[in-house]
């Protein structure tokens, strides 16, 4: 009697947290379900960073997902500390940073990449990075974390991170550029203090300073 091929369940109605828990227990269909939901977005992000190099985006994506699987198996993902999307993003970011470091002497040009790599946040592992990003995300969401940032500050920080210039933002808010810049720095300072209170250490702090204080 031959075995009848059975399509694996697509598990579309399960939450990512549940799927992550199952995948951590070795459930491959759960992991594939996570992959189905997030791989498109991750791939697109790699593609944007790599200026459309599909082969490399494929490779980095594959390495990211291997890393995610391994981390899940080793129990390094804690759903209480970060969303699965943040964790996948963090693993992908570490892979990306690794790629940048290995490639910086070659195709990208050392001087151009050195600055980027130096200013890139690089906590020691993906779980720590995910927790850090999760806390930043919570600050940028409405009503979260006791209103660390006001609505205006959140909008300002978001727009700035998305590439809006100070001049452009100042015009929209009808304030002087210097005023706008001061508000932005104040918002970032609030964020920095919040992260320090949460115990996140900056690169400066890792080198002996008091991170964030």
């Amino acid at each position: 009697m031959s075995a009848t091929p059975v399509n694996p369940p697509r598990r579309e109605h399960e939450t990512l947290a549940d799927l992550a828990k199952a995948a951590g227990a070795g459930d491959r269909t759960a992991f594939e379900a996570i992959h189905r939901r997030l791989s498109g977005g991750l791939y697109r992000q790699f593609l944007e960073r790599l200026n459309g190099r599909r082969d490399l985006a494929d490779d980095l994506s594959q390495r990211t997902w291997l890393g995610v699987w391994q981390s899940l198996q080793l129990g390094r993902y804690d759903p209480a500390k970060s969303a699965m999307t943040t964790f996948v993003y963090a693993v992908g970011y570490k892979i990306w940073l690794q790629h940048l470091r290995s490639a910086s002497r070659g195709e990208y040009g050392e001087s151009a990449m050195a600055g980027l790599v130096d200013s890139a946040p690089d906590p020691e592992n993906e779980a720590t990075l995910a927790e850090l990003l999760e806390d930043v995300r919570s600050c940028l969401q409405e009503g979260a974390d006791g209103g660390v940032l006001t609505a205006d500050e959140r909008g300002l920080v978001r727009a700035s991170a998305q590439g809006a210039s100070d001049r452009e933002l100042a015009r929209q808010m009808n304030v002087a550029v210097s005023t706008l810049n001061a508000r932005k720095q104040a918002a970032l300072e609030k964020l920095r203090r919040f992260l320090a209170q949460k115990g996140h250490r900056t690169k400066e702090g890792e080198r002996g300073g008091r991170g964030g204080e």
Binding site: L38, S61, V88, R137, R192, G208
Partner: protein
Amino acid sequence: MRPGELENLVKMALEAEALEAESHDAQAQSPCSPFVWPAQLHDAADTSCPPALRLAGSAPEKHSDHLVAAGASGARPMAGIGWWWALPVAACIGLAAVGTRLVSQLLVPAPVDHGAVALEGLKPQDSQQPALTADTRPPVVHTAVGDHAPFDLPVVREASLVMAVSLDESTNCRCTQTVIHQWSDDRSLQSVGRDEVLRVGLESSCLPSPDRMLVLVVSGPIDQLPRTPEAQLQLASCIDLTDEDDPYIDDLDLDDFSHDEGKYAAYAQICLGNGVSIEAVTLRIGR
């Protein structure tokens, strides 16, 4: 905080947010790049050994993530050790204590050709074939090659153990190799220059072209040197600065070998006692 670091964090948080938004969008859930389960991925859950995970179907990007378990073949291998522990990023660490061989300046130095030594559970990887190694493994000791030969040091009373820790930046692979070395003219470690220590370390390196190196030299009476694989493993653990719980090393940049040579020497001295002299030299080659 470094200039731009916080802004980068915000940007990353927004990208993670976008990833989550796309996960709710069925249109965005594109199977454009299906996950390929590597043949050996089933073994990934088995953390008792460090499997090499090949990227089936990976793009032909030039990278060389590979497990290095190489050692000098100039002398007959006596023992092989591999030990693994957690590292911050995907990294592999191989300790190939390929026997303890005597390299005397008075004799013809044994050739070092970086031949691979088979370790239990490990297969030396062809550097042309992309492979990904697990980055986090609990400490496991593999004792492999059983061809033990008697250690023959009939006239040597004092010698140095040279432990060369090599790091390849592109693969994050660390490989540690130890050799017993005797300085020419029976000189003591104190009279040996830094350059010479580095030269011996580079000759002993089990990575063909390391990016960074730590050379630890333990010098003293031969019977006080850590000559057995177990003792070398212990020494390697002593200078492993990746112990996250140790407040003393809490502020060190673990990615940088060159932060403080004195700390490596101090850690080794604590483990080995005062009967030996120790020197640590680090080198960042850079290319």
